[in-house]
Structures are given as C-alpha cells and as structure tokens.
Symmetry: C2
C-alpha cells in the first residue's frame, strides 16, 4: 500500500523543502559568481542550476547521510556536486545533437539562451566543479563513487544506449539497461556518497546502493508514465516527447498499468530491504534511522497520481 | 642559447618515446575495450586516444614524478588521466558548435566519424574516467589539481574566452589569458600532479606549477607560430585556421619574430627557476634532478624550427 497525500504536505515533501533550502544556499556560495571571469560561462551554469529543480539527488544524499548518523554542513558540498552533475547531464542531453529539446522545467534550454558552444562548456564546467567539491571532502572513495556513477558503466553508458536505441525496436532488457544506467546509477551514487560521508560500514554502503538502484528505476518508470499522462504545462517540458522520439519506455512495452505496478513493486522491495537494514546492528556504528528514506522512496511513486 | 638538434634524437625526444611507450601500454589496459558495452562509446574514445598524440602532458607528469624521486608504475594512471582530459578537450573543441574542425592529427575528427552526439559523450566519458583514475590513487590533492587545472579558472575558462573573442579585436592581455588558461593550466597541472604523486614538499610543487605555466605559455606561442608557418600536411590539421577564424594569436599581435623571442625567453626563465630549485635542498627529501625537465622545456621551442 502506497499512502498518497495529494492535499497535505507529506514528510517527504517537508524533507525535500528542508534539503533544497540548505542545498540552494550552499550552491549560491559554491558556484562562481556571475560577475567573475568568465562571466558568460558562470551565467550559463547558474541559469540551469537555478531553474527550479527539486534537488532530489542532493536530498537523497543528505537523507542517507543523516540516516547513518551524519550531522552538520560537511555533507553540503558533496550534495551540491550531485545536483551539478545532474544538471550537466540535462544540459548536454538537451543539445540539438542529442535529444534536441527547447524546453526544460518550463524555460528555454541552456543552448537556446547561451548558444550551443556555451552550453557544452557550461555542462563540462559543472562536471569538473562537481569533482572539485567532492575531492575537497578529502574522501577519494566519494570521488570514485561519483566517477563510477557517471562513467561508461553508469549514466553516460545509459545515455549512449538510449541514443543508439532511438527509432529501433528494443526489448524490456534494453529499456531496463538504459534506466538503470541513465537514471538509477546517479541516484544510487547519491545515497552511497551520503553513507560514505557519514563513514558508514561497507554493509550499509552496499545496502544504500541497492536501495538507490531500486528507487531510481522506479523513479524512471514513473517518469515514463508521466510523459504519457500529463500535459507539457504540468511537466515543464514537451509532453509525449518519448513517443514522438520513438523512445522505448516501460509503458510502450508493457502498458501503463503494468508499468505502475512495477514501479510500486520496486518501491516495496526497496523499503523492505531498508527495514532489514534498520533492524541490523553494526558494533560501534549507530542504528540506521530509515524514516526519511522510506518516505522519500514512497514519494517517488506518489508523483504519478 | 637554445640548442637545436634537428637531425639527431635529442634527450627530450628519447624521454618522450620512453614515456609514450609506457603511457600507451597503460592506456591500452585502462581504457574500456571496444567490445565491452557500450561498444560504440568505447570505440569513439579509443579512436581519439590513439590518434598519434605525442603524450606531452603524461610525459611532463612522469618527468616531474621522476625528478622528485618517484619510481615505478604508480604514476601511470595519473599520467594517463592527463592525456584523457587533453583528448576530451580536443574532441569538444573540434565540434561544429565550437571550432568546427574536420581534421585532427591528419585524421577526420571524432564527430566526423562517430557523429556529434557520440563525440560529446566520448569527451564526457574520458573526462569522467580521468577523475576515476586520479581518485584511485587515493590522493585527493591530485583530484583537486586536476579539477582546478580544468575548471572555469583553468582550461575551460580559457576556452570560453577564446570562443567569445573570435572575430573581435583583442589585446595581448586577453591572448595571454586564453593561452595561460586554455593551454598552460593543464601543462602546469601535469607537472604538479607528478610532484604530488612523488610526495614532494609544497615548495617543490609550487615551483613545478610555475615552471609549467611558463613552458605551457611558450608551447602555445610556438603553436601559434607553427599555425602560420607550416602546411596542413605537416601540422596534421588545417593550417592557417587561426587566421581564417580571426583568432587572436601572439604573431597576429606582435609579429612572428617577437613571438619567437617571447617563447624562447619564457623557456629561459623557466629553466633558470628550475636550476634554482635543483640547488635547494629540503631536509628528508631527495635533491631534484632537473635534467629531463630542462630538456623537455627546450624541446618545446625546437619544434618551431
């Protein structure tokens, strides 16, 4: 049973608001100012960074950090880096040579405003600064997590297969590959980095990764459903674009209802695993408090109603 | 006096050959194979990585490492990462929305062979893997050096100002800014990472950075001169492209002879600083052997004859 609370503010929404306020304040300080050289690049970076994103990845990173007993602001640069790499991927994905999108979150895409060259460079610069921020934490294991979540066995690998699959008949296995790499890998990485920043034991880090892959895949299936069901106005991007681009999605292969069932199922599996983790104890490490993570997992599905 | 040895193999060329053999063997192992998924991406990456580059940045990294007493193969992943980020920058620079180049090192550019989308992604993937390799050394200070050499205060900043300056009348200060950021920052970073990997003291690391900026700026001035003087066949890319693109260069602002004088002067300053460093001693740290670095610095200038 997924509780839906369309008319009241859920604990997940409360946490998302708390997380995004902290993350937005940190980003304001961490991103180069629009007046510093090269100003045009910094403007292009900030344009897409402050375009109304929900800060889901930083919020999951923060939730994992706090679930593992982490406190204070030390997590913020790493949390911000996750939004930077997410934004990097959106800017490059929207380019004419990729998905060729004109709208993102209800506003013209980066290259529509700053030109293609600046959009490529703004994406590159966000990716580089993300690594700088994570390196600055002094934890090479977090840099490794970020790199592996993004590389050819992570997000970029998914993007490649997505592009190569356009207009082709593909099976569910391929769609699964694309979703797990293009979307779930970075969501899993966000949770892993949160746990690593809290010095969580390996067992907990691995459980966070698994939890992240499950909710990440569910998140993307829900996105596929939303693309079919909602209007462009609500989505803030061109609705029905997947169909128009002949993109293989969950609903196009197994139908809308079966896709929703799969999305719920993944959340249930993820939450069950999390509860097992919460009942375990590692000597010398605080018990994991999974309340917020569970709420965040369920929130992902409620978006579809 | 710059010794030129056009008809015999100089110590720098011998070192470059030694370094590139080691680096090429390491790259062969480190880069994902062309048969692993996503194969198309890995093919695109390898196409540009094995396109006949001289491996100057890895060689400088290796030279700094060995000058500081470092031995063995532990330096190779970091050295390879420098060639990866250099190649990333070439692939993105060649894109139609940037410099729009069809030829690079005598072969069609990446996007001409694999398409623009794959070229953008191959560049991104090389950048990400470079950070993975450096993170794997367990030295966050090297990740920081790499990020700062590349970011908006490094290479990408230079690329932005370069693009914004095209077709405009710019002064020598701007050309200097572009060259210092677009070219010299990564060359300096290569030397710094070599020194950091050898656990060199801060004084030595900073001296390597300064040395790198000077030879890096000289290198780019020499490149500007070569673009004017040589044929496309020798260059392996379209000659006279700077002039055609209305790019501001040293020779276009101060003339060919004055540019060459400036390039020599920078090398002389760099070598003098290096000799001062070699005569210093840090307790508990071996004396720096600057023979190879000096030869490499002088080699940069001999290319122009």
């Amino acid at each position: 049973m997924i509780p839906t609370t369309p008319h009241s503010v859920s604990p997940a929404e409360t946490f998302l608001r708390y997380a995004s306020e902290r993350v937005n304040a940190a980003l304001e300080t961490l991103l180069p100012s629009e007046t510093s050289v090269p100003a045009e690049l910094h403007k292009a970076e900030r344009y897409s960074m402050f375009a109304g994103g929900k800060r889901l990845r930083p919020a999951l990173c923060l939730a994992a950090y706090e679930a593992c007993g982490g406190t204070g602001d030390a997590i913020l640069p790493a949390a911000c880096s996750l939004e930077m790499v997410h934004t990097f991927s959106l800017i490059h994905d929207d380019l004419p040579c990729m998905d060729d999108d004109d709208l993102r979150r209800g506003r013209p895409t980066n290259h529509k405003v700053f030109g293609e060259a600046m959009a490529v460079l703004a994406g590159d610069a966000l990716l580089v600064q993300a690594f700088e921020l994570v390196a600055n934490t002094g934890k090479p294991e977090c840099v490794l997590t970020l790199a592996r979540s993004l590389g050819s066995q992570g997000m970029l690998g998914g993007q490649v297969v997505d592009i190569l699959s356009e207009g082709k008949v593909v099976d569910l296995e391929t769609v699964d590959y694309i979703h797990r790499h293009k979307t779930a890998a970075l969501i899993a990485g966000s949770l892993v980095i949160g746990a690593q920043m809290a010095d969580a034991p390996a067992r907990v880090v691995e459980a966070m990764r698994e939890f992240g892959y499950k909710i990440g895949l569910s998140f993307q299936i829900v996105d596929d459903c939303l693309d079919l069901e909602q209007t462009s106005e609500v989505l803030g991007k061109t609705a029905g674009k997947d169909l128009e681009d002949h993109k293989a999605t969950y609903p196009s292969l197994i139908g809308l209802e079966a896709s929703k069932r799969r999305a719920v199922e993944l959340i249930e599996f993820a939450v069950t695993d999390l509860k097992t983790l919460a009942s375990d104890e590692t000597p010398g490490f605080p018990r994991i408090d999974t309340t917020v993570l569970e709420a965040m997992a369920r929130y992902i599905f409620t978006r579809v109603h």
